[in-house]
């Protein structure tokens, strides 16, 4: 299990979702992906994408006007 970071600031949805999708392709079950976004819509879209693909959303919150999302990758 390893932990990875994804900076999706200054991207508007759906680009953060696409970047998460691309990043997770290279990860393994149990890996953690931490994502930071500046588009407030990401707090809905990234968790929605994660849920439909069966990944666990461990955290989704807004801090200092940025969206922080932590995803645990599940085998799909």
């Amino acid at each position: 299990m390893s932990e990875h970071e994804l900076d999706a600031r200054r991207m508007l949805c759906p680009m953060p979702v696409i970047k998460v999708q691309d990043a997770i392709k290279d990860l393994h079950s149990g890996d953690i992906l931490n994502v930071v976004c500046s588009d407030p819509g990401a707090i809905y879209d990234v968790p929605a994408w994660s849920r439909v693909h069966g990944h666990q959303v461990l955290l989704a919150e807004v801090r200092d006007e940025e969206v922080h999302i932590q995803i645990k990758v599940e085998a799909s």
């Binding site: 200054r10 508007l12 949805c13 759906p14 680009m15 979702v17 696409i18 999708q21 500046s38 588009d39 407030p40 819509g41 809905y44 879209d45 929605a48 994408w49 849920r51 439909v52 693909h53 799909s76």
Partner: protein, 345 residues
């Protein structure tokens, strides 16, 4: 053997119904959505403060979650340029190449099913619903030019169209499909009620900025004032925000209309020369193009006109260069009589 289909999901009702009709026949369905850069989805609502009462969700993802299917969002920004710049079938009433666009998306879906071992493609198209891409005579064009042929199933209009391979092979039953046609929405709304769908997107004017006249005008203006028609994602995003004012052929100004746009445009201060009033409250203004030093006074006077100092005798404006240096100018806000309406793009 369970068959597998990919469904082009826009986030609207029709693709949602079409997907459900095929899922109900025991087919494994996943969704796909192609991001061209011109999609109206949530990000635009995220920019403008006045739009923040609208759902910020991505409707395609929301639909996938309602249906309980996977959703693949595919970046086609680069490939889409050729569709927009060289549409074989031309444009609609604005810069919308709808028929080429649909053919392109079905072709991409066809490539996807070949790569992923899926059996056929679903769309929510309805015969006669759209003036370019959903006419009885153009629907076969999409099948032919995409390469998908009779692997393309349109569940909502299937009974008005020739039988497809999935029907002939018995993967799906024609009786479980529909015979909708025309622009009316009553059959779709009735079917949504039958399926128990109470919340669904009702996009006004389609899901693409290219069908919008104001947006298309800005796109054409951008092309007319550049040496070629190529574009980057940032270019087409900037056309969605601010007032665009072209006082001279070699540059235009993008003036934030409200706080949400200003915040979004702040992120571009390292890419564009920019200015704002410092003696009065006023908007952020980006300079797109090659304004010369001789143009700066005019630029500053226009900037001053859009702030609270518009009636003042003099407004102090700070002009910021991309390298971080800056200068200030004291100017008289431009008088409305010296500001022709034609400057607005």
């Amino acid at each position: 053997m369970q068959r597998k289909a990919i469904s082009l999901i826009s986030g609207g009702l029709d693709s949602m119904l079409a997907t459900k009709a095929i899922m109900d026949q025991g087919v494994h369905v996943e969704g796909i959505n192609f991001f061209t850069g011109f999609c109206v989805e949530g990000h635009t609502h995220a920019i403008r403060k006045k739009d923040q009462n609208k759902p910020r969700r991505n409707n395609a993802l929301w639909v996938a979650e309602q249906l309980g299917i996977k959703m693949h969002i595919v970046d086609v920004i680069e490939e889409y340029k050729d569709v927009l710049l060289n549409p074989k079938h031309g444009y609609g009433s604005n810069m919308n190449p709808c028929l080429d666009c649909k053919g392109f998306m079905v072709r991409k879906a066809y490539e996807w099913i070949q790569e992923h071992g899926f059996d056929f493609i679903i769309t929510g198209e309805v015969v006669g619903q759209r003036p370019m891409s959903q006419r009885r005579d153009t629907m076969p064009v999409i099948q032919r030019e995409s390469g998908a042929g009779d692997l393309l199933v349109r569940p909502l209009s299937a009974q008005n169209l020739p039988e497809t391979l999935p029907e002939r092979e018995g993967w799906i039953s024609r009786e479980g499909l529909y015979g909708f046609s025309g622009r009316g929405r009553k059959p779709q709304i009735a079917l949504a009620a039958e399926y128990g769908f109470v919340d669904y997107a009702q996009p006004a004017g389609g899901c693409c900025f290219l069908t919008d006249k104001a947006y298309s005008d800005k796109l054409v203006d951008m092309w007319q004032h550049r040496s070629d028609r190529d574009y980057e994602l940032d270019d087409i995003m900037m056309l969605k925000v601010g007032r665009h004012i072209r006082p001279r052929p070699h540059f235009k100004l993008i003036v934030a209309r409200e706080e949400g746009e200003a915040k979004f445009m702040e992120g571009y201060r390292r890419q564009f020369r920019n200015l704002h009033a410092i003696s009065h409250t006023g908007p952020l203004v980006l300079i797109d193009g090659e304004a010369t030093d001789d143009d700066l006074e005019l630029v500053a006077r226009i900037c001053a006109r859009f702030g609270q100092g518009k009636e003042a005798e003099q407004v102090e404006v700070q002009i910021n260069e991309i390298d971080g240096s800056s200068q200030t100018l004291k100017v008289e806000p431009i008088h409305p009589d010296d500001f022709p309406e034609e400057w607005y793009v």
